[in-house]
Assembly symmetry: C2
Homo-oligomer: 190 residues x 2
DNA sequence: CTAGATTCAAGTCATGGTGTCTCGAAATCG
DNA sequence: CGATTTCGAGACACCATGACTTGAATCTAG
């Protein structure tokens, strides 16, 4: 995964990279998105400004890198007995991710930015964070033979993720936990 | 709806108000969200900067006012014969709104901003643009007796709007029109 | 070990947006 | 008329941006 350094010159500092990612993560949580500036990131990371600009061209790119790994972890659920339990577990993980996790906060910030920045939209489409995780759960459920009908994968992902994601994005997620099982059942019965 | 002017002093200029709303609309479409600045809005509207700040405290507030009226129009569908046709018509209007309309572009920009700005989130929650429109369609379908099961209104709205909205927000809306009827059927059969 | 290449932290700089303030003119009230 | 409020226009200090410079550090190739 990590290419051995071939080119001459001083190699990229892993310390600086991690300090920047951590600074972005911390600033987003502690100070909010508005207070997150490239200048502030560099200062908080104890890093030159150019060092930030050399490797990322925008806040969004850093945020995406900071978000991706955690997101995959947080959205991966262990195999369950029944398909219903597995879907419900995924929805629980998704709700926790979107409403409570640092990575989820970053994801929502990115999705927000993508609504008025095509470059961010492209990045997010390529990373496909939610879609990838949902697709893994859907394929497992399909292999249990528990999902009726055809339906292309992208449509299925939208039906699984959409209702929950929309409520969170619209700021209407209070008490959503009690509805996850019902959502899982409805998805499987579609 | 419009309070008659009671206080002394020069009344608020309706011309200025409309010029500002129109400037915001045009700038969002023609130049994009990033190029939309309070300064630019004032200049494009031919209006003093203070005149903008006096009545709105952020881009988001102006955008919301510019969006709300059009949104209600665009998301209101005529009564149809069957419940399925009515739901499908609403989803068609919603898809057109989210992907093609100026007001929908503004709505998406606002929803995006809301992900990292609690003040915008509050505004959007109070305006409840999508939720209100969806609730009207749902109530009509319920009065036809065509919607099984209980389910609170907010949950129903999320199930109706969520899958489509998520696909659009995630930038995966290509060829969505062909799936609207299936989505409508699935919603009614839940 | 040297020469060349690349990165590092730190800082400077012009540009442009922010939000507040001031100004004189205009409009509406009592 | 006088008080009050809005109007357009612009000045102002402040801050983020992103390109640029500097001198040191760290790597490869020869």
């Amino acid at each position: 995964m990590v290419a051995p350094p071939k080119s001459p010159g001083r190699p990229r500092s892993e310390d600086a990279r991690l300090a920047i990612l951590q600074a972005v993560d911390g600033m987003l949580v502690e100070e909010g998105y508005a207070a997150m500036t490239m200048k502030g990131i560099a200062e908080r990371a104890g890093v030159g400004r150019q060092t930030v600009y050399r490797w990322w061209s925008s806040k969004a790119e850093i945020l995406l890198e900071a978000c991706t790994h955690d997101a995959i972890d947080e959205l991966t659920v262990p195999a369950a007995e029944s398909a219903a339990a597995e879907v419900a577990a995924f929805l629980g993980a998704l709700a926790a991710f979107l409403t409570g996790s640092d990575a989820g906060l970053a994801y929502r910030a990115l999705l927000g930015e993508a609504q008025h920045d095509e470059a961010v939209a492209k990045l997010l489409r390529e990373a496909d964070i939610l879609g990838g995780a949902a697709a893994r759960t859907i394929r497992r459920v399909q292999s249990h033979g528990a999902l009726a009908g055809e339906g292309d994968l992208r449509g299925l992902v939208a039906e699984l993720v959409g209702p929950l994601a929309f409520r969170v994005l619209a700021g209407d997620a209070a008490g959503i936990e009690g509805e996850l099982e019902g959502m899982a059942e409805r998805f499987l019965a579609r």
